[in-house]
Symmetry: C2
Subunit: 344 residues, 2 copies
Amino acid sequence: MPELRKDPVTRRWVIIATERAARPTDFPRGEVQANASETCPFCEGREARTPPEIAAIRRPGTNPDEPGWQVRVVANKYPALRIEGSTDVTADGVFEGMGGVGAHEVIIETPRHTDHPAVMPPAQLASVLWMYRERYRDLDRDERFKYLLLFRNHGRSAGASLSHPHSQLIALPIVPKRAMEELEGAQQYFAREGRCIYCDILHQEEAQRTRLVWQNEDFVAFAPYAAWCPFELWILPRRHLASFGDLGDGHLLPLAGALHQVLGRLHTCLGNPPYNYIIHTAPYEGKTGHFYHWHIEVIPRLSQVAGFEWGSGFYINTVPPEDAARYLREAALPAPVAQEAPAG
Amino acid sequence: MPELRKDPVTRRWVIIATERAARPTDFPRGEVQANASETCPFCEGREARTPPEIAAIRRPGTNPDEPGWQVRVVANKYPALRIEGSTDVTADGVFEGMGGVGAHEVIIETPRHTDHPAVMPPAQLASVLWMYRERYRDLDRDERFKYLLLFRNHGRSAGASLSHPHSQLIALPIVPKRAMEELEGAQQYFAREGRCIYCDILHQEEAQRTRLVWQNEDFVAFAPYAAWCPFELWILPRRHLASFGDLGDGHLLPLAGALHQVLGRLHTCLGNPPYNYIIHTAPYEGKTGHFYHWHIEVIPRLSQVAGFEWGSGFYINTVPPEDAARYLREAALPAPVAQEAPAG
């Protein structure tokens, strides 16, 4: 019997289509292809082929836009938004617009072309997360920006045009719709129950265990109850904290560990699938600390989403999250890629 | 300079990325492939290969599940929802669920395998729309259903597994998220302004003309101001009416004409692109008549949507709607497919 489930935060209903249930092997494999490293602008030694360096973790004594870095941030060569300009709202009858002002940056996660988070040592991943947080804090100083969208596209069909490991950030002069929905849902729950809805979800997932994938002392990874696509996963910090920018130093390596476990198990279970992850965090402004709870959502790109699903906001998920969690709990981690001595 | 635009109804912000602006020829062509007609279960003469007929427009004297039909409705062989069962809500801590009860039907639009709305005579399309309305009204009688989702997937990458022209309907025991957002946005606008927001959009589009594609006495087709994907189009009835089920007989052929124009121009301009259209209508229950306004949204599937766009609800559209409308105004209609004498 198929089941309808409601996302407790955004109130989106999803069909869990058990009668069409798919197993991990039902999805196409090996979709993620590497681009040639010979011409890759993100590889070490080709620093001149990107826009100038905004920030980097580097070996002492090395200069910006030269080799010797471990993580490197540059402007997106084809930015969706421009850094210069004003954010005045223009009204035109029923319509409202604004100049396309914002930052669009690329975080190159490693000098090594074929590395990626599923096989990268957690220490390297922790450096990437440290850089996310640095950029989060730095862009917070620009008063025009209201929200920071930090995300990773893995594989061409997930939107990655280059295979060299990288994440992106977009600093926005508005709060995007999905973030608004989460904030509103969480605020209303707090007004009603006096508690953070994400903390309550966390406690219920830990008590029920059927959707849990992995946990350590600081983070819990699970398949959400109303997962809208096969193998959707959330990583939630145990500590109630609204903003990713407030993540403490002591939580960087535990978060890297959780991400490594989740992406590693997806890698083995589904054969290096394309995926996206997005950091869901509080907006730069507003008192959201008591009711919002930052987290990471991982979205494997396994099936074609019918346009009617976007258009209607109504999703059909062919893998019950309880099944997805079980497959992932049983999955092994991939063998780590042989590493040279760290550059740092 | 890129521009940020806000959807006046749902309040979703979209980047109109003028600096990455794409022309119609930048998108891949000829993606839509026909399946072999030799084995097609939707072709005339193979009625036994579908579930039993629910409704049909037939030549007098012919029997259900036999040849002689013009439009035919059958249950979906792999339904996302089941028609039997109760819609009691089950609560489990923070989570809320419901049995997956609903109807999932296929509307076979023509006995001819290679026909489709862009090349079909408007009279045939009007018969399809008549059947949509019949099914809308019939399913309204089932008190468990709260909303009817009527949609068409054209091309494999838009979710169509068979190329024989068909639409689908899903009758739902809940109102999907996107419909709720439109209802809430329209209701709030009505409370503030005392007018229907869709009527106001219509008047502004007609006054500004830059996003208009085509119009007749009863319907207006345009590219919406905050289009979230390239060549998104809306068809709005001039007459304020909340429910598609209340569409008058006299409006069936004018609507078929508008749909034929819009899909025909997309066909020529973009080389038979994959697309979805969705009928956005009022829920079966609730007094929405004064503020809601039914319409059709057409979503061509031209570019890969990055998962972060779904995940964040934040979209980047590389074709300004003013450009899309101009391309489509200038496009010719495709040559009609040679038709046999109508079956009816």
